[in-house]
């Protein structure tokens, strides 16, 4: 499950509660700055063995999940 894995990465990197993360959660809601986003993107790239070129376009969890599914 892509969503479950993305959720796990976000929880691990940001130390937030799992319940806080839904598909609709935006990174802005989570108080993520650009460096947090770099870390999440790196972890996603390594976990799914993909390359994310335009990290700035990923605004919410759903964007990330859809991007990963399109790459697979």
């Amino acid at each position: 499950m892509v969503f479950e894995k993305v959720k796990e990465i976000i929880v691990d990197q940001l130390g937030v509660d799992e319940e806080e993360i839904t598909l609709e959660t935006t990174f802005e809601d989570l108080g993520v700055d650009s460096l947090d986003l770099f870390q999440i993107v790196i972890e996603i790239e390594e976990s799914f063995n993909i390359k994310i070129e335009n990290a700035e376009d990923i605004k919410c969890v759903k964007d990330a999940v859809e991007f990963i599914e399109a790459q697979k």
Binding site: D33, L35, F38, I42
Partner: protein
């Protein structure tokens, strides 16, 4: 076989302290923004001292700490990205200031990894040639190449110099050194030199080049954390030791968030990393020898302690070295 150890350290930082609040007066930024994204609270900025002068001050202290005179030096190697001149080299200016008549002097440039590169060159000169003492310096006046109108970069850098004396000996001090470059990623962190201008080029052919530091933060972050983790793991493998046998990791002081993330990936306590970027910002090639001098002068190193130095930066370049403290 002839071995090599660090026999002395020294540093120099300009007196002028520029805090985050001071920067907030010249660009649109804040102490909170800079602190949370970088860990930097203040940096030292030159009041006119150029790279060679800062290098000379640091060198004098390193010679004193090693207990040798400038006349005993076989080489002076300065790692810098911000030399005083195209020629003479910064190292030759330092030689003149110190009166190190016997030394051969030259600069090398590997940006923020420069000190590790210079350490490698010096180590192999000592091991293979009839030499006894080499002065290795990392010195930068980054305030010369920073765009003071760009809030994304000008908050990151500081000026300063760090120096060590490397001496030949029977006891093993400098161990494995790993170096690497990835020139294909050069454009993610650049500062241009002079454009090509001569009477045979039409002016409208000129490219618009400035010398300011420009970087792609995300790519640098990714590269830095990746090579830090990889080169530390490689170093441990080659030396057949584990991290619990290492007293300190002295990383290039670019950004606390990079160090913190690398620590997490290595699954090592962040306190094993010696961090002083809160006081000095990123001083490029000077950051590792400045940190090493602080460790030495604060008495935080005991004989036979293992220290890992790890750097990364423009080029792109990276490097790591394991040193057994023998002083």
């Amino acid at each position: 076989m002839k071995e090599v150890y660090i026999s002395g350290t020294g540093k120099y930082l300009p007196e002028n302290i520029v805090t985050n609040d001071d920067l907030a007066k010249i660009v649109d930024t804040s102490d909170e923004w800079i602190t949370t994204r970088t860990g930097i609270k203040e940096r030292r900025i030159s009041s006119g001292e150029d790279t060679s002068l800062m290098a000379t001050y640091a060198a004098k202290l390193a010679l004193e700490n090693a207990g040798i005179s400038a006349e005993e030096l076989d080489f002076i190697i300065v790692a810098t990205t911000t030399p005083d001149n195209f020629t003479p080299s910064t190292a030759c200016l330092v030689q003149s200031n110190l009166g190190a008549a016997k030394a051969a002097a030259f600069d090398i440039n590997a940006a923020c990894t420069g000190f590790i590169y210079a350490l490698n060159v010096a180590t192999h000169l000592l091991k293979s040639g009839p030499y006894k003492h080499i002065l290795v310096i990392g010195a930068e006046t980054l305030s010369k190449i920073v765009n003071w109108k760009d809030r994304n970069t000008c908050v990151l850098f500081g000026d300063g110099a760090g120096a060590i004396v490397l001496s030949a000996s029977m006891k093993k001090g400098v161990g494995t050194i790993i170096l690497g470059s990835d020139g294909q990623k050069g454009e993610v962190l650049q500062s241009h030199a002079l454009p090509v201008i001569n009477p045979f080029i039409k002016t409208n052919d000129l490219q618009d080049k400035n010398h300011y530091v420009a970087m792609d933060g995300r790519e640098v972050f990714k590269f830095a954390t990746g090579v830090m983790v990889d080169s530390i793991e490689k170093l441990l493998q080659r030396e057949e030791i584990n991290l619990s046998e290492v007293k300190y990791i002295v990383p290039h002081q670019a950004n606390f968030r990079i160090i913190d993330y690398a620590a997490k990936k290595l699954d090592v306590d962040i306190n094993k990393f010696y961090v002083n970027l809160d006081k000095y910002g990123n001083t490029s090639s000077a950051s590792i020898p400045i940190a090493l001098d602080e460790l030495n002068k604060k008495g935080l190193l005991n004989k036979n302690d293992n220290v890992i130095m790890v750097g990364f930066g423009g080029g792109l370049t990276f490097g790591a070295a394991l040193v057994k403290w023998q002083k």
